[in-house]
C-alpha cells in the first residue's frame, strides 16, 4: 500500500523480454537495444548490490548469490585466483528454462557471468551447456560476436570459453562441473567448489538464469530487482510447466505467485489433477492443495517442497503416480557416479523396492524401502541420493491410497496409461565421464 507507484513491478518479463518479441536469439545489437550497454562501472560494488537485491540461485538451491560471490572473492584472494562456471548443463529432463534462456538471451547470460567474474576477481569463465543440443556452437558464436564488437570481458582481459559436460544427471552438480572444467571427470567431489574448484582454485558455479538476473541487477540496481517477487525471494523466475496443461512451456513470473497462477499461465489443467511434481526429479510430489500456496522457498519448505529449478509437472487423476515415480527413480539410480557406496548400492535397491510395491504386491518391500530411504539419506558426497529419497518419500505420502491399491492388488486405472514424465535413454556405455 505504501509502496510508491514507481517501485511496482509492471508484470512484464525481464529475462525473456527481447525473445518474446522476436522468437529467436537476441543479437548483440538487439540485446543493446533492449538492455543497454554492459555496465562495467557497476563491477565495483557489484557484490554489495547483488546482496542488497537479494538474488538467490535459480539452479535449485536458492542460495543467496551475494554471499556466494563474497565467499569466492575472499577465497580467491587467499588462493591467488578464482574461476567462474556458468551452469547451463540442465540435465533435469523436465526442465527447459536454461536451454531456452541460453538460446534466447545469450548475451544477457554472458554479461552476468563476465560481471560476476570481474567482481570476484576471476580471469576465466567457462560456460557449460547441454551436450548435443547445438547450444555450444551458438554460445561460441555469441562470444565471437562480442569479441568483434569489443563488448565486455575480452576487452578487459577475461577469457571465456564453452564446454559440454557429459549428459549424466549428476554431472551438472556444482563440484562435478568444476571437476570436469578442470580437466577431470564430470563426477561430484567431496569438497565444495567455492573452496576448491577448477584446478583447485575457488570457483563460482551458478545457474544461467542466476547470471542473467545478475546482468540486469548490475544495470538497474537492487531496488528495481526487488520490485518483483517477495522480500525473501525477490525477482522473477523461470518455470517449466508440463504434464496435463494446455500450453506446456517456460514462463517467467514474479516469485511469490501461487501454483494456480503458474498453471493458469500455461492455459490451465486439461484434466482434474491428483498431484504436482515440484522442483525437478530430485524434487517433491505435492497434492493439488499446495497450488494455493505462493511458490517461494519459504512457503514451500513448510510443505516439504521447494521451487527448485522451477519444474512444475501436473499429474492428472487418471495417471498412476507410483508408475511415474518408479520409472524416474530407476533412471536416477542409473545416473549415479559409481562413487559412493550408499548411493550406487542404495539407489538401485530403493528403485527395485518401489518397483516390487508397484508391480508385485510386495508389502515387505514397502517396509524395506522405508528403512533403506532413512539409511541412505544425506550419506553421499553430493545431494543425488537425497533427491531420490525425497522423490520416493513424497510419492509414498501423496499417493498413499494408490500404494494401498497396488499392495492389495485392487487395480489401478493409471497402469494402462502411457507414462507422462520424460525419461531419457541412458547415455551409451561410451558416453564416459569426460
Amino acid at each position: 500500500m505504501t509502496v510508491p507507484q514507481l517501485l511496482r513491478y509492471d508484470g512484464r518479463p525481464r529475462l525473456l523480454a527481447g525473445w518474446l518479441g522476436t522468437g529467436r536469439a537476441a543479437s548483440l545489437a538487439e540485446h543493446l537495444a533492449v538492455n543497454g550497454p554492459l555496465p562495467l562501472d557497476a563491477v565495483r560494488g557489484l557484490i554489495d548490490t547483488v546482496t542488497a537485491a537479494g538474488l538467490r540461485g535459480r539452479g535449485g538451491a536458492w542460495f543467496p548469490t551475494g554471499r556466494k560471490l563474497a565467499t569466492v572473492a575472499k577465497n580467491g584472494r587467499a588462493a591467488g585466483g578464482s574461476h567462474v562456471v556458468v551452469n547451463g548443463a540442465e540435465s533435469e529432463p523436465a526442465a527447459g528454462k536454461d536451454k531456452l534462456l541460453l538460446g534466447a538471451a545469450p548475451h544477457l547470460v554472458l554479461d552476468g557471468a563476465e560481471l560476476a567474474a570481474l567482481a570476484v576477481g576471476a580471469t576465466k569463465v567457462t560456460v557449460c551447456v547441454h551436450r548435443g543440443t547445438g547450444l555450444a556452437r551458438a554460445i561460441t558464436a555469441a562470444i565471437a560476436e562480442r569479441a568483434r564488437a569489443g563488448w565486455g570481458g575480452a576487452a578487459v582481459g577475461l577469457s571465456i570459453t564453452v564446454m559440454e559436460p557429459p549428459r549424466w544427471y549428476v554431472s551438472s552438480e556444482s563440484t562435478a562441473l568444476a571437476n570436469f572444467v578442470g580437466g577431470g571427470e564430470g563426477k561430484p567431489r567431496d569438497v565444495s567448489a567455492y573452496r576448491e574448484g577448477v584446478g583447485g582454485k575457488p570457483t563460482l558455479v551458478s545457474n544461467v538464469e542466476t547470471f542473467a538476473h545478475l546482468g540486469l541487477i548490475a544495470r538497474h540496481e537492487a531496488d528495481w530487482f526487488r520490485m518483483a517477487g517477495t522480500a525473501e525471494a525477490p525477482g522473477t523466475a523461470l518455470f517449466t510447466v508440463s504434464g496435463a496443461v494446455r500450453s506446456r512451456g517456460v514462463y517467467e513470473l514474479p516469485v511469490g505467485v501461487t501454483g494456480h497462477d503458474i498453471l493458469r499461465m500455461a492455459g490451465g489443467p486439461t484434466e482434474p489433477l491428483q498431484a504436482i511434481l515440484l522442483g525437478g526429479y530430485g524434487g517433491s510430489w505435492v497434492s493439488p492443495g499446495v497450488l494455493a500456496a505462493p511458490f517461494t522457498p519459504e512457503a514451500l519448505r513448510t510443505l516439504h517442497a521447494s521451487p527448485g529449478a522451477g519444474v512444475v509437472v501436473a499429474l492428472p487423476i487418471g495417471a498412476c503416480g507410483l508408475v511415474e515415480t518408479v520409472r524416474v527413480a530407476a533412471w536416477l539410480a542409473s545416473q549415479n557416479a559409481r562413487q559412493c557406496g550408499p548411493c550406487f548400492n542404495g539407489l538401485p535397491a530403493i528403485a527395485d523396492d518401489l518397483a516390487r510395491v508397484t508391480w508385485a504386491r510386495d508389502r515387505t518391500a514397502l517396509e524395506r524401502l522405508r528403512f533403506r530411504m532413512s539409511m541412505i539419506n544425506k550419506r553421499g558426497a553430493c545431494g543425488h541420493p537425497d533427491g531420490v529419497v525425497k522423490l520416493v518419500d513424497t510419492a509414498l505420502r501423496v499417493f498413499g491410497p494408490c500404494v494401498e491399491r497396488h499392495i492389495f492388488g485392487q487395480g489401478c486405472a493409471g497402469l494402462y496409461r502411457p507414462p507422462m514424465l520424460p525419461v531419457p535413454a541412458p547415455p551409451s556405455p561410451n558416453e564416459g565421464w569426460r
Binding site: P188, R189, D190, Q339, C340, G341, P342, C343, N345, G346, R372, M375, I376, R379, G380, A381
Partner: protein, 82 residues
C-alpha cells in the same frame, strides 16, 4: 569418561567430529570395528558415521580409526556450525 577427560585433551575432542569421504571409502569396515560407539555399517558395509562431536573418552579410538582407514577416507574435522 572421567579417566581421559582431562581439560587438555577433553576440550579439543569436543569440537571435532568424524567425517567420511564416501567417494574414497571402499567399505572395508575397519572404522566400525575400532569405534563402534560412533560408526555403524549399512547393509552394504559402508559406514554410518555419527554427526555428534567425538566425546573425550573416545577421542583416542577415533584417531586410531582415522589412522588405520585403508583408503584414508576417514577424517576428524572441526564440527560444523549449527
Amino acid at each position: 569418561m572421567t579417566r581421559s577427560g582431562t581439560a587438555r585433551s577433553g576440550s579439543r575432542a569436543t569440537t571435532q567430529r568424524l567425517h567420511v569421504n564416501m567417494i574414497e571409502c571402499d567399505g572395508h569396515g575397519m572404522c566400525a570395528e575400532l569405534v563402534p560407539e560412533l560408526i555403524g555399517l549399512d547393509e552394504w558395509g559402508y559406514p554410518i558415521v555419527s554427526s555428534e562431536p567425538v566425546p573425550p573418552h573416545l577421542a583416542k579410538h577415533a584417531k586410531r580409526a582415522v589412522t588405520l582407514c585403508p583408503m584414508l577416507a576417514l577424517k576428524l574435522v572441526e564440527r560444523n556450525r549449527r
